[in-house]
């Protein structure tokens, strides 16, 4: 329930609703969309990426001298968990065709395609299979299916949303494969939202010029992810799943080809080696690094592990200076601060409003622009609503959706959102939600081409861990599509590669070299990576954990 002091502002939202309903019905934009200059201006002044200390130069590695997000640069300039000398790489504990690091959407899609094309794989995953941001996507997946749409319009939307920095061949792959992915998933048993005649239900997302958001109510990721996981589990002879066993370093060979990885059993604290002729990094993003102190929509294991292990092995990163903040993270109640409120809410007609109940931005600008406008409204124009704990937010008017789409629409299309709020006595069919940008997505990542290849032979990357597809800003619904398109492609091209790949003598020399580089650059740090899990232990408890530095390597 909202505290009493918010009532006057909530009243204003109710009062302006009829007028805004008429505006929406008119078919014209409810607020003028921003021009190129206006977008540029609001981003420069209010997007967190543009704060003076948001980026810094990285001093070592393949991107040396480049400005990266500060927290990312800190993570990369760190020590390895392992000492290379203690591993006997002539006797690997596991051998396989393809090592897939990460058991989310991209990893599972890659394993399924590789299996169908005749390659065996091991999926190494830090938590359980499917514990990934893929599971949490709510609103949908873009794909240009309707008569009035085309893959090239999708291309234009995606590249404009990314500020024209995206790698063209990747956007081409993304948008051209879209319709095929919808079909592939349906053939695996994904239940898409459909109309009576079987045609796919489509909605708008931020920055889309056509309605092309395909959904499974607001459990889109959960439905897709569980389908992929079930399919993976139906092939135990071809796909081995190792849960709670993250890869903590890649293994190379003396020809500088990627040759597998070192596994760490989180529970028994043992290390194992995997020899593989190709390796696919599908480790997802980094929301749990809490960049600039932001709350995050991301799952527990999203700590950017793939970035650092690939970087030590010499893989180049792209667009790692850009962070995506989802405009509508929840800010009230406190217990769900940072939680994702799907963009599908705005796709269905939900509007962001300030404390006076007024529209202040077109509801569906690309995410970075929309987020910056929210921050401007709260911090600069002082039109935000303060929560009891001092957070600021703007209203996201959901009751309007019921007026536009008919009563019962929210319960049918947004069961997860309804459930999330009714627990706290807020009925989103009757009252708006309070929102503020939340750390959501790693726009950049390890640079790939349309075959998911990196500059390191034998190393492939797919999904959020990769860089180039989305430029410096991803549109809604393009990440679900991304992990499917590029997960499939990674599985395909890695399988083709392993047919002729020959490995030399295995080596972990790149770890030793990286340590030397740290030393040469005079970098002093106590940080050991990959991070693996964030810590939410209170400070006073940490102080009493006197032996944490050697008791349990997680701490």
């Amino acid at each position: 329930m909202y505290p009493e002091y918010m009532r006057p502002s909530l009243e204003k939202v109710t009062q302006s609703r009829n007028k805004r309903f008429e505006l929406e019905k008119s078919g014209k934009p409810v607020f003028p969309p921003m021009s190129a200059e206006e977008r540029e201006n609001v981003l420069r002044k209010f997007h967190p990426d543009y704060k003076p200390d948001a980026r810094r130069k990285i001093r070592i590695g393949p991107n040396k001298g480049e400005e990266l997000t500060t927290e990312v640069a800190n993570m990369l300039e760190s020590h390895a968990r392992i000492k290379p000398g203690i591993f006997d790489l002539t006797k690997p504990d596991y051998e396989t065709d393809i090592l897939i690091i990460g058991g989310g959407g991209a990893g599972c899609a890659a394993a399924i395609i590789a299996m169908q094309k005749g390659a065996k794989s091991i999926i190494s995953t830090k938590l359980r299979l499917g514990d990934a941001n893929s599971m949490m996507s709510q609103g949908g997946m873009q794909a240009a299916v309707t008569e009035q749409d085309s893959p090239t319009l999708h291309y234009l939307d995606a590249i404009g949303g990314g500020h024209f920095d995206n790698k063209p061949e990747l956007v081409h792959a993304l948008t051209e494969d879209g319709p095929e992915v919808v079909k592939w998933l349906e053939d695996l048993g994904v239940v898409w939202d459909k109309l009576e005649d079987g045609s796919l239900q489509v909605l708008h997302g931020g920055g889309t010029s056509r309605k092309r958001m395909h959904s499974c109510r607001d459990y889109t990721g959960a439905i897709i992810m569980r389908t992929l996981m079930d399919e993976v589990r139906n092939h135990p002879d071809k796909i081995t799943i190792l849960e709670f066993m993250p890869v903590v370093e890649l293994i190379m060979d003396q020809k500088a080809q990627c040759a597998g990885g070192v596994l760490y059993n989180l529970e028994t604290e043992e290390y194992f080696t995997v020899k593989a002729r190709a390796t696919i990094i599908a480790t997802g993003g980094y929301g749990r690094l809490h960049i600039r102190g932001f709350d995050t929509t991301n799952h527990y294991g999203a700590t950017g592990d793939g970035l650092v292990i690939a970087y030590r092995a010499g893989a180049k990163l792209l667009f790692m200076d850009s962070v995506q903040y989802h405009p509508t993270g929840s800010v009230f109640p406190e217990q769900i601060a940072g939680f994702l409120i799907t963009e599908k809410i705005r796709g269905a007609g939900g509007q962001p409003l300030n404390k006076h109940g007024e529209l202040f931005v077109f509801p569906r600008e690309p995410r970075d622009v929309e987020s910056s406008a929210f921050i401007r409204e709260c911090l600069d124009r002082k039109n935000g609503i303060a929560t009891p704990s001092g957070r600021l937010g703007v209203w996201l008017d959901s009751p309007l959706i019921e007026m536009l789409q008919g009563e019962g629409y929210i319960n049918k299309q947004f069961p997860a959102m309804h459930r999330q709020f009714i627990r706290y006595g807020i009925d989103i069919t009757k009252e708006p939600m309070l929102v503020y940008p939340s750390l959501h997505y790693q726009n950049g990542g390890i640079e790939i081409n349309e075959k998911c290849e990196t500059n390191v032979p034998g190393l492939y990357v797919a999904g959020e861990a990769s860089g180039g597809v989305h430029g410096r800003n991803r549109l809604m619904g393009n990440s679900v599509l991304d992990y499917n398109v590029f997960g499939r492609r990674a599985g395909k091209y890695a399988t083709e590669y392993v047919k002729s790949a020959k490995l030399g003598v295995l080596s972990l020399d790149h770890i030793t070299d990286y340590e030397a580089e740290l030393k040469k650059a005079k970098i002093q740090t106590g940080l050991i990576t990959p991070v693996l899990l964030p810590s939410y232990t209170p400070e006073d408890v940490r102080k009493r954990q006197l032996t944490a530095h050697y008791e349990g390597t997680l701490r």
């Binding site: 505290p3 021009s35 190129a36 938590l127 359980r128 599971m135 949490m136 299916v145 309707t146 008569e147 009035q148 749409d149 893959p151 090239t152 319009l153 234009l156 939307d157 590249i159 404009g160 024209f164 319709p179 095929e180 349906e186 695996l188 994904v190 239940v191 898409w192 459909k194 079987g198 045609s199 796919l200 010029s209 056509r210 109510r217 990721g221 959960a222 439905i223 569980r226 389908t227 079930d230 709670f244 529970e267 527990y300 406190e334 217990q335 009891p388 069961p415 459930r419 999330q420 627990r423 706290y424 006595g425 899990l533 810590s535 939410y536 232990t537 408890v541 009493r544 997680l554 701490r555």
Partner: protein, 247 residues
């Protein structure tokens, strides 16, 4: 059944009252994490309380937003014989709560080839024969943290009504609390998953538009336009982007 459904958890109002007190100052409660007493903030979720107490969770946390089902938790309240169930990430602690997370739930998942299944009751009889042991006790429904009508979808599976199973189990998180409470030893969440896959693959009406679009892509209908776009200079692309019309 309606009364049983509402009786399955502590009334929501109590947690609301607790959450509201945050407005004034930090109030603490005592919870027993696997039997050990800890003082934690009264407005904390169970997951927040476990971490506040100093535990580094390995098993028992996933998405932390109610989508993944990693944090199934059982608890009892003082002087109350009932076993309550919830997700640690979305359930608020209460004073005196005695709780334990379930790190994993053993479950049956037969291996099958989805391409060779028939969307009918015989498939359930073959893959999940235990479904037919259901005694309609409704314990699964009472245990569901999503408030799904679990027993109803198991009954629908017994009738071979795949659409109903799909619809009723759609929001299932596979947390496993139904399965661990079921006296007939059914793994309800896997039954739901099978039904959804059967529905999506065999029973959902085909989209003609989708079929046509895939054919168009195959016939290289968009190649020329793609080539032009991919070669365009940034300024040209920018102009085209800002001039595009919106549906």
């Amino acid at each position: 059944m309606a009364t049983q459904t509402t009786a399955k958890k502590k009334p929501v109002k109590q947690t609301e009252a607790k959450a509201a007190k945050k407005d004034t100052q930090k109030e603490m409660v005592t919870v027993f994490i696997m039997g050990k007493a800890h003082e934690v903030p009264a407005d904390a979720t169970i997951m927040g309380a476990i971490e506040y107490a100093g535990y580094q969770i390995k098993r028992g946390a996933g998405c932390r937003e109610g989508f993944c089902g990693a944090c199934a938790t059982v608890y009892r309240m003082p002087g109350d014989y009932k076993i309550y169930t919830g997700l640690a990430c979305t359930t608020i602690v209460e004073d005196g709560m005695w709780l334990s997370q379930l790190p994993a739930i053993p479950s049956q998942k037969p291996v099958y080839d989805i391409n060779k299944l028939d969307p009918n009751v015989a498939t359930f009889q073959r893959l999940y024969p235990e479904v037919f042991r259901c005694v309609s006790c409704n314990t699964c429904t009472k245990a569901c943290p999503q408030d799904l009508e679990v027993m109803d979808y198991i009954n629908a599976a017994m009738r071979g009504d795949i659409e109903a199973v799909m619809d009723l189990s759609f929001d299932c998180l596979s947390c496993g609390l139904c399965a661990i409470r079921c006296p007939a030893e059914i793994v309800q969440y896997n039954v739901g998953l099978l039904a959804r896959r059967l529905y999506g693959k065999y029973l959902a009406k085909e989209s003609k538009q989708l079929k046509k679009r895939i054919q168009e892509v195959k016939e290289h209908k968009f190649d020329k336009e793609f080539n032009e776009l991919m070669k365009m200079k940034k300024e040209e692309l920018k102009k085209k982007y800002y001039e595009r019309d919106t549906e």
